[in-house]
Amino acid sequence: MSRTETADPIKPANPHNAGPPLWLLAELTYRCPLQCPYCSNPLDFAQTEKELTTEEWVSVLRKGRKMGAAQLGFSGGEPLVRQDLAELIAEARHLGYYTNLITSGLGLTEAKVDAFAEAGLDHIQVSFQASDPELNNAVAGSRKAFDQKLAMARAVKEAGYPMVLNFVIHRHNIHQMNDIMSLCERLGADYVELATCQYYGWAFENREGLMPSKAQLVRAEQEVNQYRERLQQSGSAMKLIFVTPDYYEERPKACMNGWGNLFLTVAPDGTALPCHSARLLPIDFPNVRDMDLQSIWFDSPGFNHYRGDSWMPEPCRSCDEKEKDFGGCRCQAYLLTGNADNADPVCSKSSYHDRILAARKAADHATAGLTELVYRNADNSRLFFRG
């Protein structure tokens, strides 16, 4: 495609020649009945003011689709808390999005499962916390969570949706891998995400109490590989996706496939973010209430902040892998070094890599029980912004 130098008065400037945001994550609300101590929502979520209205969300969906977004996630918090969810699903499907509902299953009913199918919902992902009720409910901070999740997973399957079951894996449930996978197989999952905890938001606060040891991880990975082979031999279509924690890598992940490259998150209050964690960065991100989505994506300082590589200090600047991993994750750099410009300390070339090594060492000796974790709820959240 040829680029012309003539400015188009309608199109916003696009200094980094960014492509379209193919993925749109609509975080409809931070409200949630669960209290998982690894929640990716911001620590001070309880401070967030008014949620976008139905009309404001519809406008975001229309603009995003026009820009080329094809995958849409309805997430939160718990998106089922929003009374207008069926309306938003119908609008999104009408626009041509592939619509994903990412839910805890709490607040879901068989009637809603059917109503959402009617509205055109393509897929439902149900999250679990463990393979047994006791541990599941302790992690979720809800006594009735597990039974409800089971019932809803069955209802989702019954209604004919493709089903993704998601388990966040940490040191308190990593011994359950085989039980988890066999539960998923019994429930008829199409995809199983075994996502080892990433340490942002609440999970960063609780890192010592969540991070598995290297030995635990190696064993879990073996169990997944063996199970995968078994599935393949039996011709099962269930896919296992095991996300390894980058704290045990020597090179960082290509976070979000690059900053402002594919992913656009809109938070409950309309703040637009290049990923759902980026709110913790000391960067002024635009809001869909004040700025057109197209200008936000292409032209705003927030979204252009880490595009390209001119922002990179050493060791990234002269690194021959910088186009592969973009220096890793900005949030991780900020949380671990205090400066989001730095190389992601996961990288062994980072002068802060010792902080990753220290976390690994701590994981070998951690003793904290579940009760010692900080649970994600409004009372605990207020502690973070009252100071």
Binding site: P20, L22, G68, A70, G73, Y98, D122, Q125, Y161, Y191
Partner: protein, 87 residues
Amino acid sequence: MHEVPRFRRGFRFQWEPAQESYVLLYPEGMVKLNGSAGAILNEVDGQRSVADIVTSLEQQFPDAGPLGKDVSEFLQDARQQHWIELS
């Protein structure tokens, strides 16, 4: 050749103007299809057999020569990826 391909539930095939290509959408994922993959999957409607699809494509692309082998190999591959079912 008599088998009828259809997309698995949860898989959606559509044209995306922003990407100037056909894509296959599925739970939390998207495959951008190249020209021939797009042309073949565009014929999948859950009604017509592999043989029908080959005939249709040979009419659309008369300069391409016989397409039977390529089309059935591609559809077998798509089945292995669990994108489609053949029945």
